[in-house]
Symmetry: C2
Subunit: 410 residues, 2 copies
């Protein structure tokens, strides 16, 4: 059996991911921007909303015209016009005057406050009584209240959520420069593997990893390209890898779990053009036999053949790697994907490696409970029953029941 | 000013959402199943993995042949063949015999355990010494260990994550019956509103709500159809609503915030064919002027014109409604979208309504902190700066600094 050449700590493995550069950029229309990652800072081209707006239905006035007004001694104002929505007022407001305005309307020149319609009484078509004084600025949004011209609204590396998309709409940015979605080729190896849609013979199993990894890649913001199943023959696997790398930023090979297959994958990876092995073996469980190498500027991952292990490696290593490749700013959103919870029972762990325990989350009146999902090596049942992973650090020998843990959601 | 006809509690408003039925079903290929919602229970068609598999590289044996074996007194076994990956073994294993096998290989007839290669020594090509005894079943996965034929693996209403997709691949289910994605028409009203790509005149603002709501709908698993901007004229709005409902399961109208515009929206909704008003006004802040009505079997929502209010209403009312429409099973995933956190400062609230406070999450060594995002009525800056909402119940008059809160993520 060939030894692991460089068993890396999880921290070292994550540091190796930093050696790959961010993918290029492209311009997408605003409709397609949500979910994408901004490739440059966005500055506000002009004041927002751009004019003084009323926040109520009422009358635009000079605040001073209302000073001292009360129910007992209302102020009498002349109506000199009305503001139409989406237009500037034709008239200007002076002392003792008022102009009708609706919520969102443009405050006319001369006015510095809006009296709510509830605090007025119409005398006839031409004048009103105001029963409550307004202060200057009351019920008025300033022209630059949402944002001032030149202000940086969003910075590079920000993921565009619905509200960021809304902000881009507000400033009229309809062509948005974003990072490309990283293209990830997915290749399954193993002579016993058949496609999910094929009839199955004795000793054969269906390809689960391609489907699972493709879904994980798409969830992480990448574009999955399925290369399919490649047999455990050096030349075949080698040329399949070369073809895959020609059309992708990154290649994920998930291999059979036998030592022979793993060695074959390593041989193939090391023989790729301009290849450099970053690590072979990571001190995590599950997921020890993970490989990361570079071929040219592209990354090649060798993932465990066991799908549950491959999923864990994806969650703790490949996803952070892809997010970096995709241009996501460090710390952007990641921290609160972790849900704090209490561990329902004690879990043992081996010293010297970082363990990841699958847990199911249960909502309890006194907080969220993380219940370890037990079960032997079952392919998928432990993952289907789990919501996330609890990490047990290298130095720890386990976690006690009741411990506060941070659950890394899938 | 027209009064709110039926100001509903949040609980009543949520109960009204239950009156609408789930959309129909469709069949999608496995590649397109991730993210969709299962429309029927999935039973296991045959045992999984379907044959006894080895979990190690080594030799298939009768366990009894190794009983008492040790380094000092190894058991001597004859090699009678080897298992090829993806094939049944030609030979059968008897007492005193061994067959070479790799991880994932099909355990041959007669064998009931696998000796790891590390615990064997090859004498010549035809026999091995075994230095450690194995128990029956050791290093063997049972034919039905992942799942037994007939077992219900996944139930209707389950969201298909990468691992559920993997499980479908494992059983060869390549055509998956899922619920249709609900089609949601989005319509903005307001004479002052122009499309994001158009030049803007005095008193005009760009349509922010269509972009924001469309992104929210897609995030919630729906298909957004943008109807565009409709002017505040009864006949125009009326016929736009009728056209929109002809192509959608649900219509979201987000209107100008003036009382006149709100009244117009209500008039239009009430005049739709077979219309029934469920509520007009909800005791929440922000979001009070929300409308829900039925026209035929379809739902029509009137949302606040202010985009931050519309987003809150979407998060607490429309999204649960859409998830129900989309067939998502109750409780499926929702609870742990909430992140427990400590409130950084006290927040006051009015008695008699449910308040939603925007918060930013900050990771601190002693846990996650929820920091209320302050700011006046700014269109979007408070939403862009926030990660989620903290709910303050109707009976509470606020929350104290340090209180444990559950943050509803956007």
């Amino acid at each position: 059996m060939r030894e692991f050449l460089k068993v890396a700590s999880l921290e070292h493995a994550l540091a190796c991911c930093e050696r790959f550069s961010v993918v290029g950029t492209e311009t997408v229309s605003l409709d397609h921007a949500p979910g994408r990652i901004l490739a440059r800072d966005v500055a506000c081209p002009a004041d927002l909303p751009g004019f003084r707006r009323s926040t109520v239905d009422g009358f635009a006035v000079c605040a001073v015209s209302t000073f001292g007004a009360s129910e007992a001694a209302p102020a009498l104002l002349d109506i000199v016009g009305s503001v139409r929505m989406g237009e500037a007022a034709a008239a200007c407001v002076g002392r003792g005057q008022a102009i009708r305005i609706l919520t969102g309307g443009m405050v006319p020149e001369g006015a510095d406050a809006i009296v709510m319609v509830e605090h007025t009484e119409a005398l006839d078509g031409t004048s009103i009584e105001v029963s409550r004084a307004v202060a200057p600025g009351e019920n008025v949004i300033a022209a630059d209240e949402d944002a001032a011209a030149g202000q940086i609204l969003l910075t590079v590396g920000r993921r565009i959520r619905p509200q960021e998309a809304g902000l881009l709409a507000a400033i009229g940015l309809v062509d948005v420069l974003v990072f490309r979605r990283p293209v990830v080729a997915i290749l399954s190896t193993g002579d016993e593997i058949v496609p999910p849609g094929s009839p199955i013979g004795p000793g054969q199993v269906r390809d689960v990893n391609s489907t699972t990894l493709a879904a994980l890649v798409e969830d992480a913001g990448g574009i999955a390209v399925r290369v399919g199943i490649v047999h455990d023959v050096l030349e075949t696997l080698s040329s399949a890898c070369t073809d895959a790398l020609a059309q992708a930023d990154t290649l994920l090979i998930s291999g059979g779990s036998s030592v022979g297959t793993r060695d074959l994958t390593l041989d193939v990876i090391e023989a790729l053009p301009d290849a450099e092995l970053h690590f072979h073996g990571v001190a995590i469980s599950p997921g020890k036999p993970t490989i990361l190498a570079r071929s040219g500027r592209q990354a090649v991952w060798g993932l465990p053949g066991h799908v549950a292990s491959a999923m864990v490696v994806f969650r703790v290593l490949v996803r952070p790697f892809l997010e970096r490749l995709a241009g996501l700013a460090p710390g952007e959103g990641a921290a609160w994907r972790n849900v704090p919870a209490r561990l329902s029972r004690s879990v043992a762990s081996a010293h010297g490696r970082t363990d990841f325990v699958r847990v199911r989350l249960e909502d309890h009146p006194d907080g969220v409970l993380a219940v370890p999902v037990l079960g032997r090596s079952g392919l998928l049942n432990t993952m289907v029953g789990a919501h996330g992973l609890v990490r047990i650090d290298r130095e720890a020998e386990g976690l006690l029941a009741g411990a506060t843990v941070s659950v890394l959601l899938f």
